[in-house]
Symmetry: C2
Subunit: 106 residues, 2 copies
DNA sequence: ACGGTATTTCTAGAAAAATAGAAATATAGA
DNA sequence: TCTATATTTCTATTTTTCTAGAAATACCGT
């Protein structure tokens, strides 16, 4: 991942509303969440939410699949993994950020 | 770490100039880098750089120590580790982002 | 084709960020 | 104290982001 891409993705996540969106999508798991559900959950205007979602989609962190009249959103783990990988590689001294190695929760 | 803090830190890193600053500080290691060196390296106006540095200092990602007339900047690994930890915990499905476990470079 | 639900795009205003020149501050040394 | 160097703060301008209402579009069922 190039620095500019990483910065764009970090910026996309660097807004409370968008970070909440992303977190909600991760928690929703593989089935994802319809835009409408997100809207209810976050209590934002539809147009505002759509705007934020677009930011996340543009940088690849979120994907959308249409199911009839509803748009279902999914967290894109591949991009997130690459982003975290970038941060660990480029922005950590060896060992200093290693504790990230703790995702062995399950 | 609270969501708002994580978002603020991600936003701080979510700008190409600031991400370059942070990366340069990581690469500089324990001795850090004076503001002037950063300025030369990034080729930005002094006031602009100072402004960006402040953003990073405010969210705790960078610390500064004065050495005579020069201000030396350091990456704060603790905050970065916590931030990465937050992202792995809150924004990853178990396993999906695990490959972050690769920092065993050295 | 029509009606309804879901979502986006358009539009616009307010707030915040980025940029950088000029002036101010801090520190060290003569 | 005066000078020089390093850096920040002040100020202003331009650009971008955030917000959300209103209108438009997409899709489905009848």
């Amino acid at each position: 991942m190039k620095l500019d891409d990483a910065a764009a993705r970090l910026e996309a996540l660097g807004n409370p509303t968008r970070l909440k969106i992303y977190r909600a999508l991760v928690r929703a798991g593989a089935e994802g969440l319809p835009v409408g559900r997100l809207q209810a959950k976050l209590d934002a205007a539809a147009s505002t939410l759509s705007h934020h979602l677009k930011s996340l989609v543009v940088v690849g962190l979120v994907t959308q699949t249409r199911e009839g009249t509803t748009l279902v959103c999914h967290a894109n783990y591949d991009i997130m993994r690459d982003l975290l990988g970038y941060m660990v590689e480029e922005c950590c001294a060896e060992g200093s950020c290693a504790p990230v190695v703790l995702p062995k929760v399950a």
